[in-house]
Symmetry: C2
């Protein structure tokens, strides 16, 4: 909300600028629109009729960070605990995840991804990667380079979210 007004530094300085200046000079609405459009793009690249967005995201979380308690998982994915209970039941029935007991606390359910879950993620990822690659191949080289150059930064951006 607050206008930062960091633009006081000379915007023409080419060498080591490109920090918040660049960002402030950009319309923030345009920033949101670009991210919305990427979001829609990835959503359309999603294999339909597969598993739900939340299911896929949950599997990815389990893949990235290892086993989670059920309620932790619910909080991380932004759904209620009953929703996660049902989701884990579905994943378990599909053989994609497993419920494990916590020896230290009999109430706790620890959820871990199963091999079939990892394989499903791999398959989805391969399909999406292929489509993305095709799309990128249709872009001008400079655009491809800009996107590839931004990938590590986008990864670090995603790291900033609580997960």
């Amino acid at each position: 909300m607050a206008e930062t007004g960091i633009d006081s530094t000379d915007p023409a300085d080419p060498g080591e600028v490109a920090g918040l200046d660049e960002l402030d000079r950009l319309d923030r609405t345009q920033l949101a629109i670009s991210f919305e459009r990427v979001f829609t793009l990835v959503r359309r690249l999603n294999p339909q009729g597969d598993i739900s967005l939340t299911a896929a995201s949950t599997l990815r979380t389990l893949e990235r960070h290892g086993p989670y308690r059920l309620s932790e998982l619910a909080a991380t994915e932004g759904v209620t605990q009953p929703a996660m209970t049902q989701l884990v039941s579905r994943l378990e029935k599909a053989g994609l995840a497993q419920r494990c007991a916590d020896p230290a606390d009999g109430r706790v359910v620890v959820v871990r991804i199963a091999d079939a879950g990892r394989e499903l993620l791999l398959a989805r990822r391969a399909a999406r990667a292929e489509k993305l690659y095709e799309l990128l191949s249709a872009l001008p080289p400079a655009d491809r380079a800009a996107i590839v150059a931004a990938l590590p930064a986008l990864d670090r951006l995603a790291d900033l979210l609580p997960s």
Copy 2:
């Protein structure tokens, strides 16, 4: 333009070099993972309890490209025609869109976004832009610069999808 200075890529100027070579040198799986993570990021930034993802996407389509026939809209959004009929009914009841008749063809329903729909998109976008800005502000300047530099390319990437 901004010197990106991304660590994992060629530090040379992106304009002339870094075409498909850069892309091929990258693990395609890593490409998919990065896009997945951005997807999840934007999804978590979504105002919850608002309207559905499809509803928001449909409103954005109507905002970007103007009125659509109902069945065209269904095809564009990747849902069935009955689903779009129901969605448009909901949007209409909420005052976010309008059904109009086509004078040339009595069967056709033309859908257009209403003022309240535009305002809702503006509000959502502003909220998301604010959160995105905060996240970006926490990144190192070089990362911010890389992401900002990639936005036009990402826009053109999104243009490649049929919409």
